[in-house]
């Protein structure tokens, strides 16, 4: 399958620049007129271990990783041992002749390309650290790429760094390219021959969240570092002065969400991000946001749990947690993005929703979205209208911050306006004064709960259906499974895919209607218990018997989904 996609895998130890080489090659591909999807595997350590990145290149959009690769760039023996055997017939292996690497003989017509990476790196005036750049240069020749484009990419990447770092990298790329040209001429494949095409946007999910937040009018972010979402804070920290918002690193996730609540209470659009463990700490203040009706967006990048679990691998195990975290009943909006583009648009919208409904909005993404770059023609799904709902800074002597209303939303004001009000964690009356009266308790609880019903009518989107609407089999899933399911659909007949992004409020009628049309429904999820499947049963009464579940941290590959659907 997928013979219109060419996959390059680069492997080595942490610290050998595997990711950097992959991103260089990815950018090279998009600048040469192609679309890409990158997939990264790495352990939770800084030096050693095994890192690898797969760059999937095609003339059409690519949305998923592949189980096999067509070209292996091995910076160490481990890479050959782990990935050498899985190469399909006709694949190529580029490896370091200086690294005592042994490539076992294969009967699958594998081409081997030995390159003295360490020597060429040293000759370029750099240290061994440049081996990755040499390897990219050599690979580029073997894929018929244009050296000038690579050098342009390197110039962009190293802009602002010292001149000798830039010139050493340029030399290293050229040395690799020239070596391959001299020694392997005639063996190159036409994969990266440059062609005219509009330059796509290339982002991973973390960057997409940061960009979506900036576009959505973010004014304050407090994020404690945690895999796999740290790149969100890196991007937000970089652009804060340019776009006039503040990113603050707090002492822990409890502080992160409380700082956001303080900033939002004072009128700033606020967002925090974390993974499951950090969200556990934030749970305490999730209900504080709901009770004080203070807007906040929480981006939760899921990884394998429980506890420290699988810090650098993916899972969709936090859906039911996000839906139920905290004591008591309150309205929460829970959204889930299926790829980086959705992450951009949902983050942008989440800031509007939080402001409008004055309640917490949780956006679920997962490691596969966080870390994996994908090219898109653009990120913006339509125009964005910035709105804040019932927000006022006009002085009013009788301001009622928690006034009752049919839609569940009260007028909101901020300190410094002259208005008196209390944001109160205790149950309260319409002004905000603590109250344990039956009438206040009932009225305020009912008001807070009405928000979800309003949201379901005003903002909730129906799930999107991909593929043949008449298909007899409907796959239902969410999150990063989307990309692999879409790739799998290309090889399946009579199958469509129902992709859910709104989980609270839940599009009960739309899901019910769609699933009723299918002869066979198949649930695909990356968790043990089938958390979305259970939610669908809770909301619609529909039990999904066919469940393809995975909880080993690895993504679903299109090949395995297609195979499993066919075998049902």
């Amino acid at each position: 399958m997928a013979n219109d996609i060419f996959s390059v895998k680069i492997g080595g130890m942490a610290g050998q620049g595997v990711k950097a080489a992959g991103l260089l090659l990815a950018k090279m591909a998009t600048r040469s007129g192609y679309q890409i999807y990158t997939y990264i595997e790495y352990p939770s350590l800084i030096r050693g271990g095994h890192n690898n990145i797969q760059i999937n290149i095609s003339s059409r959009g690519v949305t998923a990783p592949r189980q096999t690769s067509d070209f292996l760039m091995a910076l160490n023996q481990d890479t050959i041992d782990r990935h050498g055997e899985n190469l399909p017939a006709g694949a190529g292996i580029l490896f370091d002749t200086d690294g005592n690497i042994n490539v076992p003989k294969s009967e699958k017509n594998i081409s081997v390309f030995p390159v003295p990476l360490a020597k060429l790196a040293k000759d370029s005036g750099g240290q061994e650290l440049l081996e990755n750049t040499v390897a990219v240069g050599a690979t580029l020749f073997l894929l018929s790429g244009n050296l000038k484009i690579l050098q342009e990419v390197i110039r962009d990447e190293f802009a602002g760094k010292e001149d000798d770092v830039l010139s050493a990298n340029l030399k290293a790329a050229e040395a690799g390219f020239t070596f391959a040209q001299k020694n392997f001429s005639g063996k190159e494949k036409k994969i990266l021959a440059s062609k005219e095409s509009a330059r796509p946007v290339v982002v991973n999910g973390n960057e997409a969240v940061a960009l979506g937040a900036i576009a959505g009018g973010l004014q304050f972010a407090a994020i404690y570092p945690m895999s796999p979402i740290s790149d969100i804070l890196h991007a937000l920290a970089a652009y804060q002065e340019k776009f006039n918002y503040i990113y603050k690193q707090p002492e822990d996730e409890i502080s992160a969400i409380n700082m956001c609540l303080g900033a939002a209470f004072a009128g700033a659009r606020a967002l925090t991000a974390t993974s499951g463990g950090g969200f556990c700490l934030m749970t305490e203040s999730l209900g504080l946001a709901a009770m004080t009706e203070t807007p906040v967006v929480i981006v939760e990048g899921m990884r394998g749990g429980p506890a420290t679990g699988l810090p650098t691998w993916s899972e969709q195990g936090d859906l039911q947690f996000a839906l139920h975290a905290h004591q008591g009943d309150f309205s929460r909006i829970v959204l889930a993005a299926g790829d980086a583009r959705e992450a951009f648009n949902l983050t942008r919208q989440a800031l509007n929703l939080a402001d409008y409904y004055q309640t917490p909005v949780i956006l679920l993404i997962d490691k596969n979205i966080c870390d994996h770059s994908q090219s898109f023609a653009n990120l913006e799904d339509g125009n964005f209208e910035f709105y804040r709902g019932k927000y006022t800074t006009m002085p009013n002597a009788d301001f009622q911050r928690y006034a009752l209303s049919d839609d569940g939303i009260s007028p909101r004001t901020v300190p410094g306006t002259g208005n008196f009000f209390l944001a109160n964690s205790d149950e309260h009356n319409p002004v905000g004064f603590s109250s344990e009266e039956i009438s206040d308790r009932r009225a305020q609880t009912e008001k807070r709960m009405r928000k979800l019903a309003t949201c379901a009518v005003r903002d909730m989107m129906a799930p999107e259906l991909f593929g043949d609407p008449e298909g007899e089999t409907t796959i239902v899933s969410w999150g990063s499974c989307k990309g692999s399911i879409l790739e799998a659909l290309k090889t399946l007949k009579n199958v469509n895919y129902l992709h859910l992004t709104w989980l609270s409020p839940f599009p009960t009628e739309a899901v019910k209607e769609r699933l009723a049309k299918a002869k066979r429904v198949v649930l695909v999820e990356a968790n043990f218990t089938g958390q979305l499947g259970n939610l669908i049963t809770e909301k619609t009464g529909i039990q999904i018997e066919n469940r393809i579940l995975k909880y080993d941290g690895r993504p679903f590959f299109p090949e395995e989904i297609a195979e499993k659907i066919k075998s049902l």
């Binding site: 998009t30 330059r199 946007v201 290339v202 982002v203 960057e207 960009l211 900036i214 576009a215 009018g217 973010l218 004014q219 304050f220 407090a222 652009y239 804060q240 002065e241 340019k242 006039n244 918002y245 503040i246 603050k248 707090p250 002492e251 822990d252 409890i254 502080s255 992160a256 409380n258 700082m259 956001c260 609540l261 303080g262 900033a263 939002a264 209470f265 004072a266 009128g267 700033a268 659009r269 606020a270 305490e284 203040s285 504080l288 004080t292 910035f386 901020v414 300190p415 410094g416 306006t417 002259g418 208005n419 008196f420 209390l422 944001a423 109160n424 964690s425 205790d426 004064f433 603590s434």
Partner: protein, 285 residues
């Protein structure tokens, strides 16, 4: 609490008769009246505990959050609108138990906040358990055989962590406390006042008489800019050995004064709508 006082609300205080919180409330209103702290320029943040009820009794916009979490909420408010006077009301359990980590890091970062630590050395609202500042041997419902833990000296922690205005007051002396509250708020950077107060109902050790007999005012000879000496002073506690007044003061840029984005306008004064991301699209292509 005459209803003609514009700083009063329609709610009457619910503290026990003789509670130190009544005096802290009175002192704060006195300071507010003098400095014209009102709803155009000030905001209160409280944690949970008897102290936290104060937000119901002062006519200033306020946020009553969760136990231990007043300081990060206040930090967010200050960053969003640094022109506001941000007053944090917190208790000894709230600030030093549940919220210890936030206290430490707020001091370290020198946020321009004014923290009033209602310190009665007991958990009052949960009807009398030992707190992080209760003395060794203290008898309470949670330590019926006597407290085996040593008490924390909160001001030594504040000085070590980097707070730049560190003071102690006795709630019983309302005029002095009010004056100190004003000085603390005038200070650019993190100011904390450890306010010794009674809990008539549950703390039978730290009575009015105990404080009257054992506290003393730091005199004009005392130099609050000497950090080592201040640390020593902050550790002092015992018979006739509880110092009151400004223990440590340092001039140092506040966190907020170092942030380029809020040099002129507050974050909330600039609309975030309609940003142009053109440069970023180029960077990510």
């Amino acid at each position: 609490m005459s209803s003609s006082d514009p700083l009063n609300t329609l709610c009457s205080p619910t503290w026990c008769p003789g509670c130190g919180n009544l005096a802290i409330w009175a002192a704060f209103k006195k300071a507010a009246e003098e400095k014209k702290w009102d709803n155009t320029n000030s905001v209160m943040v409280a944690g949970i505990g008897c102290h936290g009820h104060i937000v119901n009794f002062v006519n200033l916009a306020s946020f009553e959050g969760l136990h231990g979490r007043a300081i990060p909420v206040a930090t967010g408010i200050k960053l969003a609108n640094h022109k506001l006077n941000v007053f944090v009301f917190t208790g000894d359990g709230d600030c030093l138990g549940e919220g210890g980590n936030h206290f430490l890091h707020a001091c370290r970062r020198n946020h321009d906040l004014t923290i009033f630590l209602h310190d009665n050395a007991i958990y009052g609202l949960t009807t009398g358990q030992t707190s992080p500042v209760s003395p060794h041997g203290f008898l309470s419902k949670s330590t019926p055989a006597g407290n085996p833990d040593e008490p924390l000296r909160p001001l030594s922690v504040a000085i070590s962590a980097g707070a730049t205005f560190v003071a102690r007051a006795f709630a019983g002396d309302i005029p002095k406390l009010a004056k100190l509250m004003i000085s603390a708020n005038d200070h650019p950077g993190l100011a904390v006042i450890d306010i010794l107060q009674t809990c008539m109902t549950f703390n039978k050790d730290y009575t009015l008489n105990f404080y009257r007999e054992n506290t003393y005012e730091l005199g004009p000879d005392y130099d609050p800019t000497d950090k080592a000496a201040a640390l020593q002073k902050a550790l002092e506690w015992g018979e006739k050995k509880i110092p009151l007044g400004i223990i440590y003061r340092e001039e140092k840029p506040s966190f907020e004064s170092q942030i380029a984005q809020i040099k002129e306008k507050t974050l909330t004064e600039v609309s975030p709508a309609g940003r142009n991301l053109k440069d970023l699209w180029e960077k990510y292509s």
